[in-house]
Symmetry: C2
C-alpha cells in the first residue's frame, strides 16, 4: 500500500486534503471476501433491527454534516448550501429506507395455503418472500459526492435490502468518501454489526473496476456514471462464469419540448428557467436538459433572444475534475468548429477547472451535419433545436432512451401522441417543468430505456431496494423452519398477501 | 414459402399431421413489424377489456381441448390424460392472469401528491404506473406442448402485460401449435383486436432464433429450454444496439436431499416416490430431480436396493423428438463407459424415440471422476450420490444455481444450515416433497440462480407478468392527460398507493 493520490480542488487545480492510500488488488479482494463471509449478519436482521441500523448510519452521517459539506466543497467546488442540502438528502433517503423496511413491507410475503381443490391440480402450501442478493458493488458518481456516492442511493438501497456493500469511492472526493465511510461503520458497529459489511475501495487505478466486477463473491452492481464505464461493467458481468445484474444509470439528454402555445405567454420566463436548469451545478447532472426543442416561429425567436441575453450574464463554477473539464473543453472546441452551428457563450471562467457556458442552436434538419452534437456532454452546455411544431413527434420518435422527457404546453392543447411517445422512451415525463431535482419518494422513477439505463428499474426512491432482492418460495415447510415473515404467527406483524388478500393477521 | 417440414410421432418416428410451411426471414420480420405497429391496440385496453381478451383466448383454447390433446399426443407421445390436464393448466393460467389484470392490480399505481413541506425539498406531484414493454418474442418449449408453448406461461403473462407476442413455435409439435394459434386469434378478434398482435413462426431453421432476437421491434424475450440456446439469446441481446431483457429458464438438476432420519422410517416409499418423480414424463421436466443425495449407511443401502427393484419394473415412454433421444442415448452411452459408475437400468424400449431408464449411483468423492455426470440430461435418468450426512452442507455449497432444491428430514431435525444454503441457490425449496408439479399461483417462483435462470424472476405464476412491464412516472401532469389509472377520479376503481397508504378511493 505504498502508492497514494490526493484530491484536487477544482477551483484552483491544487491538491487538497490528506494523502490517500491507493488500494491494491489483494486488499480489494480481501474486503469483498470479508463482506461475503459476514453477509448473513446483515441479511438475518429483523425488520426492526435493519431499520435501526439504517437510522444509526443516517444519524452518524448527519452528525458530520458541516464537516462533510466543507470537505466536499473543497473537493468538488460545488456551493456549500447545495452540499449541506445534499448531506440531508443522503440522510433522509437512508431514513426513508429505514421507514420502508421497519414494517417488513420490502419482504413482499405472498402465502398461498394448501388447497386440495385447486385447479387444475391440488396446490401445496407455498410461501414466498424476498431475500437479500448478497454482496453489492457500488460505483460512486463524481457529481453527487454524497447522494450518489459512498452512502448514496445505491448503497442505501442495497443495505436496506440486507446486502453488504463494497463501494468504489470516486477519486475526485476521497476525503469526503472517507468521512462518510467512517460514519457508516460507526452506525453499523453501534448496532452490533461487523464493520466488514461495508467497505470503500480508494484509488485512481481503473483496474479496481475490473476487480470488483469479476469477483465471484459480488452478486450485483449498482452504477451511476458514463455510458462507457456502464457498458464495460455489463460486458464484464457477461464474461463471468456466473453473470450478475448490473444496474447502470448511464446518463441522458433529457429533452424539453416547448409548444408554440407554451411560449406564446411567457417565452422570456421559460427561456431563463430552461437555462437555469441546464446550467445548474455547472451542467453536471444526469437530468440536465441537453436538448431543448422550440418552434421556428416568432415565439421561438423570442425564446432564443432571451437565452442570449441570459447566458451572457452567467458565471459557471469550475467542473468537478480535470477529466470532466478536459473532455468538456475538447467537445465544445470541436463543435465550435462545426460549420453553421450557432453558439451562445457566457463570460470566460478559467480558474482551476473553470469553463464557460456554451449553448448551441441549430435547426432539426441540420442536426445530422454536426457530429457528436446529440451526445451527452457533461458540463454547462445544451442544444436548442428549432423545428416546426408539427415535426415534434418525429423528433421524439428519433430519440433514444432517456431518463426524463419534459413538455411545456397549454392546458387545453392536445399533445397526447407526443406524451405517449415520450413515455415510451423516458422513465419520467414532466409537464411544464424541468428535469433537474429528483424527489426521493415511493412514486419516483429514475431510469429510462437504453442507453439511459441498463434495466427497467429505478436508482432513486424506495423501489430501488427491489434491485437487490430475489424471490424464494418454500413449499410445504414446517412452520418453525420457515423464515419469520412467512410463519403462521406473523411474528413481525407485517402486511402479507394470503390467498390473494392483504392481511396483517396470523394464520390459524 | 416453398420449404416444408412435418412433425414426427415419437412412438414410431414416422411423420404425422400436416405439411408445415417453413417461415422465411421476410415473413418473420413482417410479422414482428405488424405486431409492433398494432401494439397500442392492446396496451391501451382497460383492465376490464384486457381481462375479457384473455378470457376469450382461454375459452377458445378450452373449446379445442380434445382436439389439442389428441394432436399433441401424436406429436409428443405424452399420455392423453397428461395432455388434457395440460390444456386445462394452460387455460386456467390464462384465466388467472385475466383475474389479476381485471382489477388493474398489475398497474401498481403509486401516487405521491405534491408536498411543499417535503424534506429535504418540496415534492412535485409524482404518479407512477407500470406500462407494457412492447413486442415480446417467446420461444416455445418442446416438453410442455401447451403450458410452455404457443399460449403458455410466457405468452399469457406477456399478453396480460399488454404486449404483442411473436412465438417461435417448437418444430416438435407444429400442428398443436397451429390449433392454439388459431384459438388465440379467435379470442383476440372476438374482442375487436387485430390478429397482428399475435403470431407464430413455424420452422426448423435455427436462424429463426437470430431473426427474432435481433429484430429492433422486439423489446423482450421469454425463453424456456436449453442452457445453450438461452446463452445464445443473451449474447444476441447484448450485441443489439439496444439490448433487451432475456428471461431464460435454462433447466436445473433439482437436488433432493434425504437425511438418515427421513429414510429410517420409510426408505422404500421414498425411493419409489423419488424414482416416480425422476421418470415422470420420461424425465423430460426442467424440475426433474437430477441429483438424489442419500447417506452411505444402512438406510441409504435400503433406499438403493428399493430403487433397483422399482426401476427394473419401469417402462418409460419415447422421448419427445429425435434430437432429445439421440442426445440422451449418447450421454448414457458415454457415462456407461465411465469406470466404476454403478448403473440401474429398466427394461429396454426401442420403439420410435424410445429409451431405457438409467439411474446412476456414485459416491460424492467419486463424482469428479465421471465427466458430465452432473450435467442436466433430459430424459429418464438421475444420479444418486452417496455421502455421510455431515457432508451434505458441503455438497450443497458445491452446487450451482437451481430451479428447485428439496430436503426430506425429520420434523425435529435441525437442518437450518442446509435449508439456508439451498435457499441461496434455488428459487423454490421443498420440504419432504419432490420438485415435479409446479402450481400456477401468486406465491409460486419458477426461477433460480444462474445457470438455472438468467434473471431473478419467475416464469410461472402471476409475478411472471412483471417481467414485461416498466415503470413510468408522470410529474405535475394535468389530470386529464394522465393514464387513467393515475387520474384523481380513479376511473378503474383500482387499489393504489397514495402517499404510502393503500386506497381504492378517488383523490379530491
Amino acid at each position: 500500500m505504498s502508492k497514494t493520490f490526493t484530491a484536487k480542488n477544482p477551483a484552483t487545480g491544487q491538491s487538497v486534503g490528506a494523502e490517500i492510500l491507493e488500494w491494491d488488488q489483494k486488499q480489494t479482494i480481501a474486503a469483498i471476501k470479508a463482506a461475503a463471509n459476514a453477509k448473513q449478519k446483515l441479511s438475518a436482521t429483523t425488520p426492526t433491527q435493519r431499520a435501526a441500523v439504517l437510522n444509526a448510519i443516517a444519524d452518524a452521517i448527519e452528525a458530520e454534516k458541516d464537516n462533510l459539506a466543507q470537505t466536499a466543497n473543497l473537493e468538488t467546488a460545488l456551493p456549500l448550501p447545495r452540499l449541506s442540502g445534499e448531506v440531508m438528502r443522503t440522510v433522509i433517503q437512508i431514513r426513508s429506507f429505514a421507514n420502508l423496511v421497519k414494517d417488513g413491507g420490502h419482504l413482499l410475503p405472498i402465502i398461498d395455503l394448501a388447497d386440495p381443490n385447486f385447479l387444475p391440480v391440488a396446490r401445496p402450501d407455498l410461501r414466498k418472500s424476498q431475500q437479500s442478493l448478497g454482496v453489492v458493488a457500488v460505483f460512486a458518481a463524481s457529481n453527487f459526492p454524497l447522494a450518489f456516492s459512498v452512502a448514496g442511493g445505491d448503497s442505501a438501497s442495497a443495505l436496506a435490502a440486507g446486502c453488504p456493500v463494497i463501494v468504489k469511492a470516486h477519486p475526485s472526493h476521497p476525503n469526503t468518501s472517507q468521512i462518510v465511510y467512517e460514519a457508516v461503520i460507526k452506525g453499523l458497529t453501534s448496532q452490533g454489526l461487523p464493520k466488514e459489511l461495508f467497505a470503500i475501495i480508494q484509488g485512481e487505478n481503473p483496474e479496481i473496476t475490473h476487480w470488483l466486477a469479476k469477483a465471484p463473491e459480488v452478486n450485483a452492481i449498482g452504477f451511476t456514471g458514463s455510458a462507457m464505464v456502464g457498458k464495460l461493467l455489463i460486458s464484464l458481468s457477461q464474461e463471468r462464469s456466473v453473470p450478475i445484474p448490473v444496474y447502470a444509470e448511464m446518463g441522458s439528454l433529457n429533452p424539453v419540448f416547448f409548444t408554440p402555445t407554451a411560449l406564446s405567454e411567457k417565452a422570456d420566463e421559460l427561456a431563463k428557467a430552461a437555462i437555469d436548469s441546464a446550467l445548474l451545478g455547472s451542467g453536471q447532472f444526469c437530468t440536465k436538459p441537453g436538448i431543448i426543442i422550440v418552434p421556428n416561429d416568432d415565439n421561438g425567436d423570442k425564446f432564443i433572444s432571451q437565452v442570449k441575453e441570459y447566458v451572457a450574464q452567467q458565471k459557471v463554477a469550475p467542473l468537478l475534475n480535470k477529466g470532466i473539464a478536459t473532455r468538456f473543453k475538447d467537445a465544445i472546441s470541436k463543435l465550435s468548429k462545426s460549420k453553421g452551428l450557432e453558439i451562445i457563450s457566457s463570460i470566460g471562467n478559467s480558474d482551476g477547472y473553470g469553463v464557460t457556458a456554451n449553448i448551441f442552436v441549430t435547426d432539426w434538419s441540420d442536426v445530422k451535419n454536426h457530429e457528436d452534437l446529440l451526445e451527452e456532454h457533461f458540463g454547462p452546455t445544451s442544444v436548442i433545436i428549432r423545428t416546426p411544431f408539427d415535426e415534434y413527434l418525429k423528433v421524439a420518435k428519433s430519440m433514444q432512451g432517456q431518463l426524463t422527457a419534459a413538455i411545456h404546453a397549454g392546458a387545453d392543447e392536445n399533445v397526447k401522441d407526443l406524451v405517449d411517445q415520450l413515455s415510451q422512451i423516458a422513465g419520467r415525463v414532466i409537464w411544464n417543468g424541468f428535469p433537474t431535482a429528483v424527489s426521493v419518494t415511493a412514486a419516483q422513477n429514475h431510469g429510462g430505456q437504453w442507453p439511459a439505463s441498463s434495466t427497467h428499474t429505478t436508482s432513486v426512491g424506495l423501489d430501488a431496494l427491489y434491485r437487490f432482492v430475489r424471490p424464494v418460495v418454500y413449499q410445504n415447510f414446517p412452520d418453525n423452519k420457515l423464515p419469520k415473515e412467512l410463519q403462521n404467527a406473523n411474528p413481525y406483524g407485517i402486511e402479507r398477501v394470503i390467498n390473494s388478500e392483504r392481511s396483517k393477521k396470523a394464520i390459524n
